[in-house]
Amino acid sequence: MTDALRDLTEQKYKYGFVTDIDEDRIPKGLTEDVVRLISRKKSEPQFLLDFRLKAFRHWLTMEEPGWAHIQHPPIDYQDIVYYSAPKPKKKLASMDEVDPELRDAFKKLGIPLEEQARLANVAVDAVFDSVSVATTFKKKLADLGVIFCSFSEAVKEHPEIVERYLGSVVPYSDNYFATLNSAVFSDGSFAYVPKGVRCPMELSTYFRINAADTGQFERTLLVADEGAYVSYLEGCTAPVRDKNQLHAAVVELVALDRAEIKYSTVQNWYPGDAEGRGGIYNFVTKRGKAMRRSKISWTQVETGSAITWKYPSCILQGDESVGEFYSVALTNHRQQADTGTKMIHIGKNTRSTIISKGISAGRGQNTYRGLVKIQKGAENARNYSQCDSLLIGERCGAHTFPYIEVKNPSARVEHEATTSKISEDQLFYCRQRGIKEEDAVSMIVNGFARQVLKELPMEFAVEAQKLLGMSLEGSVG
């Protein structure tokens, strides 16, 4: 490969700054007392403490899973701070009272918290370390009955909804990381869209890890009541630190009859440096339950994190429900991603679509892992899966593990997969037309990912495109 292409991959992470702010943090380590402390700090109702304790006790009996195609030194769970929050100077009466330091931090990230400065049709919940610091456009949404707030606030204001749905899609005992999250999660976002309401703006959560040695364990719960529609987007970044940090989130989606949830993620946690030092370990459980004639659509653009382990899934429980998964995962340098989806067809005439685009560069390892399961009663279920891999350079890897389980003979399941490389011929062709090599790589990669990018809300598709280009800088050596 040429020098220009090599230079391209040695690019710096642009969100790596640290905000100097007073933190309220608890000592490192995880015990039942820590779980109780977190719950107490948040003045939680009994049902939530019980949920946490059940999870914690179960977690003690579990072992970290080893089946993913990833490698990392053992994680010391006692060497992590499980709660850290920016110290509030006083109770916020309005958005204008957000700590200026915090406001600046989000401004630097391109997320102004002042409502007038925001994109007019996006409401934002900003989560800094363990807590939500601000939610915009709350009032406007409330007029329609849409609840959009931090998870902690939902626990206080709408405990009945939280109690009803928390753990209903991802049970506390689901898997090692989800169980850990259930024990120690500190905050996250919550949204409820009432019957028949079409949420008029994008709901968005921006997650920021700031504090050192801290794990981020957020929990998101979205409920779309019958016939409701909501489009939700999450973004995330973290400072450059040479130690790995753990992020273990849980997202639960509930789409009641005829509801539709579109959930988009642009994941840009700190990926570590070119030698693989530092970076976020991103172990995330995301799952949605789709009732009759409802639809859940996951779109993810995963460019950050040292390790990405996530499988946004759909339980197609109701008849005629629809599940979709559109994914672009990019690994550069020493990044590793093991990601994909599970489509569980339970209801009749359920349909699912999986489009996965994996891009590997540098020494990146990219794995697609997916399960399509057609249960006995899922008459006429259909699935279409397409998994494409693009390799840049000679030292990266792409792997595909599609699992298919069919228990109903009327099912139709299709799977297509391709692997290709960016060729010297393609690059030369672009350059001969006057396009710089790095722009050519970015253009080819975006072309490869187009099927997925077009699923993103407009405002974010452009950002995601730029991000793909940026994440690839220095991709070949």
Binding site: Q426, F428, Y429, C430, R431, Q432, G434, I435, E437, G447
Partner: protein, 271 residues
């Protein structure tokens, strides 16, 4: 320089160019001058180095340049990156245009045009204006606009790819176009379209080099000068009669003469 003054000035000046692929010397001291306003044809048997020449001039790295010079408007081509050569006005029509899935034809073309305009300090052209501009050009190469929203050359037939090359040339309006076997694999209709594209670009301030194995294309585009390449050099130059003669006699005698060392110095065949 005014267009009038530019006329008959050399746009491309190549002297003693040598290049090798691995241990094999492919270009063995090639010299060629192409003046503004001219169309040159470079003919020659397979393996004579025609495509390597086109590639080396455009900055392809498959061959390593070991000697000689190549100048475009007096600027040292060999010292420039491929993209800078393109920006300086060199266009290569590819023998095998690549496919780039998912990157729209029109988008690619506008990106290329704007990259070039930007580098020259000109204003970028917006999507709406570009569409109008490109539509005109598409008509000239009889290209169905439906092709434009498809991926670059994605699923195009051989003929469609070649037309697309000519469309790109028409949009980019290069100072020097080198068309490498643009006629291979074309039926008569496509050949006519390609020829018309080349003719449309004929101007006192531009020049074109057609690299071709057959004389067929030259029935539609009349060259000012015809060169014959053998063993990595230009061994014969003349008017278009030379092409006709080659058509009649074939290339075998050239190869033979070259082996005997008959072309120690390039031969000028007077028209």
């Amino acid at each position: 320089m005014s267009p009038k003054e530019q006329e008959n000035q050399p746009i491309l000046a190549v002297e003693g160019l040598r290049a090798r692929i691995g241990d094999r010397e492919i270009l063995t001291g090639l010299s060629l001058t192409v003046n503004a306003g001219q169309v040159h044809a470079i003919m020659g048997p397979n393996g004579s180095g025609k495509s390597t020449l086109a590639g080396v001039l455009a900055g392809r790295e498959t061959a390593e340049v070991t000697g000689g010079t190549a100048r475009l408007d007096g600027r040292d081509l060999l010292a420039m990156s491929p993209e800078d050569r393109a920006i300086a006005g060199l266009f290569l029509g590819f023998q095998y245009p690549v496919e780039i899935p998912g990157v729209g034809n029109l988008y690619f073309l506008r990106t290329a045009l704007n990259a070039q305009r930007k580098s020259r300090g000109e204003e970028e052209i917006d999507a709406v204006d570009f569409l109008e501009f490109a539509k005109e050009k598409m008509k000239s190469v009889e290209m169905d606009p439906a092709f434009m929203s498809r991926g670059l050359n994605e699923g195009f037939s051989g003929g469609e790819k070649k037309r697309n090359e000519v469309l790109q040339m028409a949009v980019l309006e290069p100072r020097l176009a080198i068309l490498d076997e643009i006629d291979s694999g074309l039926d008569i209709d496509a050949l006519r379209v390609v020829a018309r594209g080349v003719e449309a670009l004929r101007s006192p301030v531009r020049s074109t080099v057609l690299v071709t194995h057959y004389q067929r294309l030259l029935e539609y585009v009349v060259p000012d000068v015809v060169h014959v390449m053998a063993a990595g050099r230009i061994v014969l130059s003349g008017g278009r009669e030379l092409a006709l003669e080659l058509e009649k006699k074939g290339y075998a005698w050239i190869d033979e003469e070259a082996r005997r060392g008959a072309f120690a110095e390039p031969v000028q065949v007077s028209p």
